[in-house]
């Protein structure tokens, strides 16, 4: 994961995009409207890039999965039945593509027992600045499994509820809650040295 730690709102990239109803755009895309597809692409590219950056670590892989995801949207928009939100449908495609790419190209950085992992060796006495705090947070994220990172990202960055996340990753809702619980415990343990600065 290569996150530079710049400080802009995670929503800032989307603000400049024209307001559009995703469902309407998908309907137009299903009819082969390239301009509508471009608008949809502009809306989702920053969001998907963020999501895929959390899941995958290689820039070329992120771009490839992003393009593959949007190609599926372009080619299969007609199969979107509207039973879920367009964002759920598109993120589910991205999740499946990312999982497949990771299985094919990367050594999985799985942590099967994230809650059992001990905390980092950061000393409680260490004075940690905000930058170091974020750095520690990112390091902890990198040590989470693919599925735990996905749940964290969809919750914190994409404002999705556990029901929608369950649809995207294709698992029961309780599994999403459990994954989130373990992921947070893992992050908390990694941040334990600076906990006093937090609370």
């Amino acid at each position: 994961m290569s996150w530079p730690g710049t400080f802009i709102s995670p929503r800032a990239e989307i603000k400049g995009s024209p307001k559009a109803d995703d469902r309407e755009l998908l309907t137009l895309v299903a009819g082969g409207d390239l301009a509508a597809f471009e608008r949809l692409y502009r809306i989702y590219q920053p969001r998907l890039t963020r999501f895929l950056t959390t899941l995958l670590s290689r820039p070329h892989l992120i771009e490839e999965v992003l393009d593959d995801t949007m190609m599926v949207v372009w080619q299969s928009a007609g199969s979107f039945r509207g039973s879920s939100k367009p964002s759920t449908w598109i993120f589910a495609i991205a999740y499946r593509k990312a999982r497949k790419a990771q299985a094919k190209w990367l050594d999985p950085v799985e942590d099967p027992e994230p809650d059992a992992r001990v905390s980092s060796d950061r000393s409680p006495e260490l004075e940690i600045g905000q930058q170091q705090l974020r750095s520690a947070l990112l390091n902890a994220m990198e040590r989470l499994s693919f599925d735990h990172r996905a749940v964290i990202d969809l919750t914190y960055f994409h404002d999705m509820g556990y029901r929608e996340i369950a649809e995207i990753v294709g698992c029961p809702r309780d599994t999403v809650k459990t994954r989130m619980f373990h992921a947070r415990r893992c992050l908390r343990q990694a941040m334990s040295g600076s906990l006093a600065d937090w609370i």
């Binding site: 992120i62 404002d159 556990y162």
Partner: protein
């Protein structure tokens, strides 16, 4: 998580699991009501909620590098034929093979190998022509197993020294590509090749049958 001051463990566990979505405002009314009720009586969960909000703030302060990728894709989308920015369909094996071969590093290697094949091929074709041998030539020349190209400024003495040092004898050449076919004892071809390849007067030295390399 079991704590001594918590009486309703079921509500406590449920609240702990739901806190991230509670903090993000992503719970429906029923979930939110249950969490609200538990928070009133559980100091531990209120503390966890505070932690959760701080965690979210930290996460939101960190964003991945989106701009560079966005600029790249914007250029592709806004090109005269934007649909070409995407692959129209999944690439077939030949497309993937071509994509692999056209990667810069692979292409350079392929070009070098192609050059060698062309030189070796030209050499073998030219050596196969009988013009170099008289009809009365009774002795069958030793089979060539190394091909070499000397630098353009190499002198006859340089070439002779290189051949002697490698224990190689000239079988034929020069070809139209200025390559020479050499013979070295098969058992010491590796050594001979290394000596030739290390020689400053040698531009290229390769085995031509690949038998022992």
């Amino acid at each position: 998580m079991t704590r001594p001051d918590i009486t309703d463990h079921s509500a406590h566990d449920e609240t702990e699991e739901l806190l991230p979505w509670y903090a993000k405002g992503q719970l429906d009314q029923a979930d939110r009501t249950r969490v609200d009720a538990h928070l009133l009586s559980c100091a531990h969960c209120r503390q966890q909620l505070d932690f959760e909000r701080r965690l979210i703030l930290q996460f939101h302060a960190i964003v991945p590098e989106v701009e560079s990728g966005w600029a790249r894709l914007r250029d592709r989308i806004e090109s005269p034929a934007p649909i070409r920015a995407f692959r129209p369909k999944r690439p077939g094996p030949l497309t993937e093979a071509w994509a692999f071969l056209t990667r810069p590093a692979v292409a350079a290697l392929a070009a070098a190998q192609l050059a060698f094949v062309l030189v070796a091929g030209a050499t073998l074709v030219s050596l196969g022509q009988p013009a170099y041998h008289t009809l009365g030539s009774a002795q069958v020349p030793a089979a060539g197993n190394v091909i070499v190209i000397f630098r353009a400024d190499a002198t006859e003495l340089d070439i002779r020294n290189a051949l002697r040092s490698a224990g190689a004898s000239l079988v034929d050449g020069p070809t139209p590509a200025n390559a020479y076919l050499l013979h070295v004892a098969p058992a010491r071809r590796q050594v001979a090749l290394k000596k030739l390849q290390a020689d400053d007067n040698v531009q290229l030295a390769q085995p031509i049958d690949g038998a022992d390399l």
